[in-house]
């Protein structure tokens, strides 16, 4: 089993941080050397949207990966990955608010209200904010582990909203190839949780019924 020492772990984490920042740096560099194509705003919107979904999937893959490999230290990388998902979601939203609406909040809200695919995308982004805010150790303590965990499990719903946003965006142009790939990955990641939950419930159920049987008078 791979088990990095603290120094190796720090190096790994720093490398991962740099890698996770690359898509953003790429956009900045492309903007400067005029490589964002004929429609730069669209390029940025799509790229940040894609990377939000990638990072949501990567974050949701941490637990399954940890369980399959037994590498428990992976959990210590999850917060950073989740925050990158938020970072790209925020860039995506900012592009929309800035370059599509020029900070005209009323116009923006009209758009959010009128168009279902924007509505769900916007809700997903708003729901991500409390998760980002409560990602610190202090907040975990203040909320208490149970409540914190409950709050952070809303990410399952958020990723589904994000998927729906992407699906609807592509629906008008009937271009489902990528949403299908994404949807499958998200479905696998979520179904694993359902499976583990049911398995755990059954096992505790069996244990409990065993206890009950023992107590019965013979």
């Amino acid at each position: 089993m791979i088990n990095p020492n603290p120094k190796q772990f720090r190096l790994l984490k720093a490398t991962l941080f740099a890698l996770a920042l690359l898509p953003f740096i790429r956009l900045v560099v492309y903007a400067f050397i005029d490589q964002l194509g004929a429609n730069p705003i669209e390029f940025i919107t799509r790229s940040t949207g894609d990377w939000t979904l990638y990072f949501l999937c990567i974050t949701l893959a941490v637990t399954p990966l940890r369980r399959f490999t037994g590498w428990n230290w992976l959990i210590k990388l999850r917060r950073m990955l989740g925050l990158f998902a938020f970072f790209y979601a925020a860039s995506h939203f900012t592009t929309f608010l800035w370059f599509d609406h020029f900070f005209d909040i009323t116009e923006m809200l009209k758009d959010v209200y009128k168009r279902p695919f924007i509505t769900v995308g916007f809700i997903a982004f708003v729901l991500l904010i409390p998760l980002a805010v409560t990602s610190t150790n202090g907040m975990i303590k203040r909320l208490g582990g149970k409540r914190w965990q409950w709050l952070h499990r809303t990410v399952y719903g958020i990723v589904m909203l994000g998927m729906l946003h992407f699906w609807w965006m592509r629906a008008g142009k009937h271009n489902f190839e990528k949403p299908i790939i994404f949807g499958t990955i998200v479905a696998i990641l979520l179904l694993l949780r359902v499976y583990w939950y049911l398995k755990q419930k059954r096992e505790t159920g069996i244990r409990q019924s065993a206890v009950v049987q023992k107590r019965q008078p013979t």
Binding site: A38, N39, P40, F99, F102, D111, G172, K173, H174, E177
Partner: protein, 266 residues
């Protein structure tokens, strides 16, 4: 090289879109759904020999090869705005002649109410046909009076050159007062019909893409506003999007639609 005589009626003060943008940012699903893909994949399209068959409600059905089609009327250069249904626009100098010249030659019968354009659909040349995004072949259409309007351009070139494959070579329609997808590319068949043809995007999502699809800032697409547009190659990051004009600014065509509810027939 294909330089038409510049038609001064269709000159424009708007800045022409850079050739590079107009030839690398394309919607041509037969070569892929990504906008960069047509430029990458359309090299396989063989544009010669090429014939266009003209069928249906006409007194003189015929099959024309490309050369005779090009010689049918004098070639003009016209600068048109192009407004995509997705909310962006370009300004492109096209070379071609009014479709009406061809229509007059084949003599439509009294039954001809609509005209239908069919795009080539050959899997060997067009990798995008393997994808089920649309029903192939791509079909578009116009009402007869729209097709006869002098603005409707049967097009063979752009920027003084023959059409690049990704822009619909060797012959396409350009209907500047309608969203871009109404202008069929790489046309192999033109049919004159009694009934309104079943057009590709309308078949796919009738609630989003109407048969008429006139550029109209007051009728939104269900998923985005059509009130504004981004001009490709001209507008920078910090330029506000420009207002979309009714009929893309081609007010001449308004008389074609008098008495029609354009919100219903969008």
């Amino acid at each position: 090289k294909l330089l038409g005589k510049q038609n001064p009626v269709y000159l424009m003060t708007d800045k022409t879109t850079p050739y590079k943008d107009a030839t690398t940012y394309n919607n041509y699903y037969e070569f892929g759904t990504d906008k960069a893909e047509p430029a990458q994949n359309a090299g396989t399209l063989k544009t010669r020999p090429w014939t266009v068959s003209i069928e249906g409600e006409v007194k003189k059905p015929m099959t024309l090869d490309l050369d005779s089609l090009m010689k049918l009327a004098p070639m003009e250069q016209r600068i048109y705005r192009l407004r995509c249904v997705e909310g962006w626009s370009m300004v492109i100098p096209w070379e071609g002649y009014s479709l009406s010249a061809l229509i007059k030659k084949v003599e439509p019968t009294g039954n001809a109410k609509y005209i239908e354009f069919t795009t080539l659909a050959d899997k060997k040349q067009m990798p995008g046909l393997n994808s089920p995004v649309l029903e192939w072949p791509y079909v578009e259409g116009l009402r007869m009076d729209e097709a006869m309007h002098p603005l409707a351009l049967l097009t063979f070139g752009m920027y003084g050159e023959v059409l690049p494959n990704q822009n619909g070579a060797p012959v396409r329609m350009v209907v500047p007062w309608k969203y871009g997808f109404k202008s069929a590319k790489s046309i192999v068949k033109i049919r004159f019909l009694k009934e309104q043809p079943k057009t590709a995007w309308n078949l796919t999502a009738a609630n989003e893409y109407g048969f008429y699809s006139n550029v109209n800032p007051t009728v939104d697409h269900p998923r985005w506003s059509q009130a504004t547009e981004r001009r490709i190659g001209e507008d920078g990051f910090f330029t506000k999007k420009r207002k979309t004009l009714m009929f893309n600014g081609y007010n001449d065509v308004a008389s074609l639609y008098t008495g029609m509810d354009l919100k219903k027939y969008f």
